[in-house]
Symmetry: C2
């Protein structure tokens, strides 16, 4: 019988996580207390997933847990930080043992992958919502920021782009795609992104700027451009696109490219690398086991110019914003 908040915490979230030596006090007191290694800076990020906004209320709880945590870890990756601690604020409409078991198992599986310890949080009753705060370590002056892009830098992205948006369409039209293995695979990719932590760390001292792609490549790249007071040209024919995405959009490469430009919640990295590092970038990232693609270059004119092998494009595309109606 689960009766109280404390029972809930004990049952699903206490004593399950890795025990880090730098956590002096964890769940069970008014605060957690952690010790920070000397010379280390702390990177902190908070993200919320709201049931009904960021995922359907009927979504697989294991996938929801993965998405919630990986979107947060992705922010650490984008700074080149080493994941350390996390806090989980979980609001649930009722004590559903099956849901909580699946959610917590998946949550700790991903946290364990990155050696992260759950140090605190809150469980409350209300409409389903998950807020996670992650913290990670950075060395002084070894930080990937948005504002460092320089004219002449090459623009890279990790992984494939666009699958997440296709997966979102599957989720929003689940009846149409029932029993379609391709659709199911894209839905899976939407939820189960891999935070590019190793890439972020490898880019320290190598890349001039980086972001993670949470609002769509165009939006996130524009954030780099704005912060760095530069522009860019992107060759859409170089965008990394999966065969599955092309198949999903009925074989139209240009539609797939538009998906790749505007797809939110990808949690791939977009980064810029100076000319002199271009030849070595793939070698330096080989241990990360992630595809990286060069898609364009930073320019002095402060616009984002899209072209296909030099041929100018006038696509009107927007990023992903939960306060617009582009999320169903």
């Amino acid at each position: 019988m689960l009766r109280t908040e404390l029972d809930l915490i004990n049952r699903f979230f206490s004593g399950r996580q890795v025990q880090r030596k730098d956590v002096l006090l964890s769940l069970g007191d008014d605060c957690a207390v952690v010790k920070v290694p000397q010379g280390v800076r702390i990177a902190v990020s908070t993200d919320t997933l709201v049931g009904g906004t960021h995922f359907p209320l009927s979504a697989n709880p294991a996938w929801v847990a993965h998405k919630a945590l990986s979107s947060n870890i992705s922010d650490l990756a984008a700074m080149g930080a080493t994941p350390a601690w996390l806090s989980l604020a979980l609001t649930i409409p009722k004590l559903d043992k099956i849901w909580l078991t699946a959610f917590s198992c998946s949550f700790f599986e991903l946290a364990d992958c990155f050696g992260m310890q759950l140090i605190g949080g809150d469980t409350t009753r209300g409409p389903l919502s998950i807020t996670i705060t992650v913290q990670g370590f950075l060395r002084e002056n070894r930080i990937l920021k948005r504002d460092g892009a320089k004219v002449g830098d090459w623009i890279y992205v990790t992984g494939n782009l666009g699958d997440s948006r296709a997966g979102l369409e599957v989720i929003l039209n689940s009846r149409i795609y029932d029993n379609d293995p391709l659709a199911k695979e894209l839905e899976r990719r939407h939820y189960l992104s891999s935070p590019r932590v190793l890439v972020g760390q490898a880019l320290l001292g190598l890349a001039n700027a980086a972001v993670d792609i949470s609002d769509g490549l165009i939006s996130d790249l524009k954030n780099i451009l704005k912060a760095s007071c530069v522009g860019a040209s992107v060759d859409v024919s170089l965008l990394p696109i999966s065969q599955e995405l092309v198949q999903f959009v009925g074989g139209s490469i240009s539609t797939a490219q538009q998906y790749a430009l505007s797809s939110g919640e990808e949690y791939e990295l977009c980064f810029t690398v100076p000319e002199q590092e271009k030849s070595s970038i793939e070698t330096k990232l080989v241990h990360c086991d992630v595809k990286v693609s060069c898609i364009g270059r930073i320019e002095s004119i402060d616009t984002l110019n899209l072209h296909a092998k030099g041929e100018s494009l006038n696509w009107k595309l927007n990023g992903y914003d939960h306060f617009k109606d582009n999320n169903g």
Copy 2:
């Protein structure tokens, strides 16, 4: 016109807060980056307030902001920590400029009081909910914990107890109490508690154990007892009770005492002090400008014994738990 999440953040939450020197990177990148003074431990706490669970959706947004932040700062106070940074995850059903203005002004007013800087967060669309993560500083081995209570310690509480529960009753029965100044005052006290940060800091090296009273004195004191493997006797006639509470419950002192024992979300501190410090405790807390009351003593038998001037009581009382139905 507010159109996007970024507009919202810029409009209400960027550039409004104090600028701490230890914040190297604040809102606007994937993570905030902070610098931790040498020898300092970090206390971290997260709390969520859900609209409709912890406050009515029609509640004054300024009061909601105060309650959300003060409940978090109270956790820092209970550890003796010095407040430093905070992250705000705000989920709102729509972009309501009037609501956001009142909320953000009150939020920053309280944050400024404690020199706290907003370093990050997330704004999302969905049912109204506020999750805050606060961080504060502690010196090594100077931490107020729950598990340090010793047999013979005197038990103290700050402020008055019970007003918060009376205020909650006013909120849940607003039609009955319309235009009643006493009820309005108790409602105000429910929302506008003062985190006892100065008391917590003054208790470092003085108190053996401390908690903040968020789930009701009985529940929270029991947490000290359980963690410390001790029991306690509490003289309910010594509980600090306001005249307004006695008036609210129709003059019954014992009803007011029962409110004081079970009232959640008080955000006063309960702490235990060894015999040798008893004579000096009020002097040492005089600069905090807060009433402190000695209400009982830690005992070896691991039960919580309630009495009135020595006369045993058999009151059945429970603490405050959002997963039970004691919250409306």
